[in-house]
């Protein structure tokens, strides 16, 4: 083998060594590079995925480009798999060395590229995920722009009454975080605003944010509520899941951050021309101004964290539940608001049809989840929130009958199983395994009859309930598609953003410098959301902390005089690294990951896949099949 290798043209020295990856083995290479003035090194040994980095380092330290190194994998892909055919294995090994040499001859001097990266992060979404990530980054000394679509941060968690399995009050733990985020000197909060466009790449994102007019000066507003009192418009209150009313000028909830009112332009009687203007008349601090317009804010950021949240499943499409038809069929979020002391009923449990206290409540699990027709995935939170709400109902009214119809109970988290067990055993909530067939309403009493099959006992069940609560699942946020188009990050089959790798890079996206967290990436509960948010913050920190960012030189490049600007390559790039400028494709090196799909497709061969060039590959093919 050694003699064969040495006999090949351009080979100035060939040596054998038992463990060439060991320190003495590396020394051997160093010595030859220095003494024999080598400009290419080939190691025929194990798979490059083990020691390619080791040997590259040797070259680099000897002043050669680390990419002038090539390995012939004669172990994993030869001797270990061709043990019975030593003669043929030897021939193959020779071919592998020829191929490595053919490639090495064509290798080009490449150097990793360094780009500068600053200290600014953009976070899209001001729920618990966005807030947690923002605080971590801000505390680490980075500048954060926290963009929230609604008038206040807080997100879905602000609507929750208590959180499982600890039963702590949701707003009690959330509000301090909101306030902290609102006050932090490193966090610039931009509410009532949306990201409209993002261009560029890690270390150089150019962001356009559209801020909608609030018509109320956040700094001047004292929250006195005088404006709201005089406002003649009443519309369903989103915060209370539509169970109460709010005015056109309002504050979403008392703990809102920023703690300022907002004029809901869509529902106001009219600003142009001014139709009512009562609120302005009563505003003592003169915080209200009708002359506000949407403003565009340009930001330059280095990293982006997506925390755009989720949308509760809307069961109106499922006929069997008659949600929206029968008044006493509620969603779990509506029940959450009813349970809340600051909610529409001030925590008194009543049913919507007659505002009477229910004697029995039935929960229907997996609404919109684990269903071929809707969403196949498990929404992960419904089992536990149903158990939690059931327990809350029992706490308030121990005599109430509470049933939960389930497929199976998934109590996988820390303390979940214990919580579920206790809810059954100590609180007497009845869990019935079975999917419901239909819900009927008595038109007079508005009482409901739930028909189901108990699949454990194998017999039909029919029971009366004053309220049926649908445990609705988690679905992708309304803005997911829009954000995908802006950030060019992929969405999975379930409609949520896709992580770069489900296990090893769970908060990265395929675009460098853009991270995911919370329910924008899939259903999860508060603790998981927060840990993921902090993981995303850590990912962004790791990028920004050193002030520089290394790009592998595998990126593709365009030989411009050859490019006709056909645009074939553009849609192929999964990272949107290619753009057409003046009928010439331009590749953004920082976005390119070096897969080479564009080079293979370029009909003019104008695109070169560095380190995997046509020349290199073709010479490998030629040498493989020649003797």
């Amino acid at each position: 083998m050694r003699a064969y290798a040495e006999s090949l043209p351009n080979v100035s020295v060939a040596k054998t060594y038992t463990y060439v990856c060991s320190e003495p083995g590396q020394q051997l290479i160093r010595k030859d590079i220095r003494e024999k003035k080598l400009n290419r090194v080939i190691v025929a040994a194990c798979t490059p995925s083990l020691h390619e980095p080791t040997f590259r380092k040797v070259l680099e330290e000897e002043g050669l480009s680390p990419y002038l190194f090539e390995m012939a994998n004669i172990r994993e892909q030869n001797t270990w798999v061709h043990m019975q055919t030593p003669k043929e294995a030897l021939e193959l090994a020779k071919a592998q060395i020829r191929m490595a040499l053919a490639r090495a001859e064509k290798l080009e001097e490449l150097h990793p590229k360094e780009v500068k990266i600053g200290r600014n992060a953009l976070i899209i979404g001001g729920g618990i995920a966005g807030i947690s990530a923002a605080l971590d980054l801000a505390n680490a000394g980075f500048n954060v722009y926290l963009i929230e679509k609604s008038p206040t941060i807080g997100g879905r968690m602000a609507q929750l009454d208590k959180t499982f399995p600890t039963m702590d009050c949701s707003s009690c733990i959330l509000t301090p975080k909101m306030v902290e985020a609102g006050r932090h000197s490193n966090i610039k909060l931009v509410t009532y605003a949306e990201v409209k466009d993002v261009q560029g790449y890690v270390g150089n994102f150019k962001v356009k944010v559209l801020k909608r007019p609030r018509y109320v000066d956040e700094k001047k507003c004292t929250g006195c509520d005088e404006c709201s009192k005089v406002c003649p418009v009443e519309i369903p209150d989103e915060f209370n899941a539509g169970l109460s009313w709010r005015k056109a000028i309002y504050i979403p909830f008392p703990q809102a951050v920023p703690p300022a009112y907002v004029l809901d332009e869509k529902n106001c009687l009219g600003l142009t021309p001014l139709a009512c203007a009562k609120c302005k008349e009563v505003c003592e601090p003169e915080a209200i101004s009708y002359d506000q317009y949407p403003t565009e804010i340009d930001l330059e950021v280095d990293t982006i964290i997506v925390a755009s949240g989720y949308e509760p499943y809307n069961p109106i499409v499922d006929e069997e539940y008659n949600y929206g038809v029968y008044q006493n069929v509620l969603t779990a979020l509506e029940m959450e608001r009813i349970l809340n002391a600051a909610g529409p009923t001030s925590g008194r449990i009543v049913r919507p049809s007659d505002l009477k206290e229910p004697r029995s409540v039935a929960y229907v699990q997996c609404v919109g989840s684990r269903n071929e027709r809707r969403n196949v995935y498990c929404s992960r939170i419904c089992c536990m929130y149903a158990a939690k709400q059931a327990r809350q109902l029992k706490e308030k009214h121990p005599g109430m009958d509470v049933y939960v119809f389930y497929i199976d109970v998934r109590a996988f988290g820390k303390g979940f199983e214990e919580f579920y067990e206790k809810t059954c055993r100590e609180y007497g909530v009845q869990f019935i395994r079975g999917r419901i067939a239909e819900i009927d309403e008595d038109p007079e009493t508005k009482n409901l009859t739930v028909k189901a099959e108990d699949t454990l006992l194998g017999r039909p069940v029919e029971l009366e309930a004053d309220i049926v609560v649908l445990s609705v699942g988690v679905t992708p946020g309304q803005d997911t598609k829009a954000i995908q188009n802006i950030l060019k990050i992929p969405i999975g089959a379930d409609g949520f953003f896709l992580e770069a790798h489900p296990k090893l890079r769970p908060v990265d996206t395929t675009v460098d410098g853009i991270f995911l967290c919370g329910t924008s990436a899939g259903p999860k509960d508060v603790p998981d959301t927060v840990s993921q948010a902090r993981a995303a913050a850590s990912g962004a920190t790791a990028l920004m902390a050193t002030g520089k960012y290394i790009i592998q030189p595998y990126f593709a490049s365009v030989d411009e005089p050859l490019c006709g600007g056909c645009g074939i390559c553009l849609p192929l790039c999964p990272f949107n690294a290619i753009a057409l400028e003046e009928k010439v494709a331009k590749i953004n090196e920082a976005l390119c990951k070096g897969c080479g799909v564009c080079a293979a497709a370029c009909p003019a061969t104008a695109i070169k896949a560095n380190h995997f060039t046509d020349e290199q590959i073709l010479s490998q093919i030629e040498s493989a099949l020649s003797r």
């Binding site: 798979t47 490059p48 995925s49 994998n73 172990r75 994993e76 892909q77 030869n78 270990w80 798999v81 061709h82 043990m83 019975q84 055919t85 043929e88 294995a89 021939e91 193959l92 071919a95 592998q96 191929m99 490639r103 992929p490 395929t510 595998y554 192929l572 999964p574 990272f575 990951k593 070096g594 897969c595 080479g596 799909v597 080079a599 293979a600 497709a601 896949a609 995997f612 046509d614 590959i617 073709l618 490998q620 093919i621 030629e622 493989a624 099949l625 020649s626 003797r627």
Partner: protein
Amino acid sequence: MPEKFEPYIFGFLCNWCGYAGADLAGTSRIQYPPNLRAIRLMCSGRVDPAFILTALKRGADGVLVVGCHPGDCHYINGNLRTERRVALLKKMLSNLGLDDRRVRLEWISASEGEKFAVVVREFVEEMRALGPNPLEGNMNET
């Protein structure tokens, strides 16, 4: 009678799945015939039909392209691009009078060492049955 015909197979393996699967076959000591000469590319999406044609022209009796399973591509969908290229190329090869079984696309993940060995074994047998590549420059011709 000439000696038993041993087909040459040229392989294009993607770094993340095919190549890793081949390595796993190695570490698991799963044996397969020594007729494959393979190179590593970052993604099966780098496989240019011209490479496959060149390998055939230079005498490869079969060409094996290995990528990640759909949905697992390290680069999202490079494998799907190549899937379509290979399908169209196969039609072109048939038009040109070559048996399109000479080009084979397989999805083999990094954990499928066994599958890698099986695929190579099967492909070599198939090509053995098919006989030498009839193109000029076939190295198996005397």
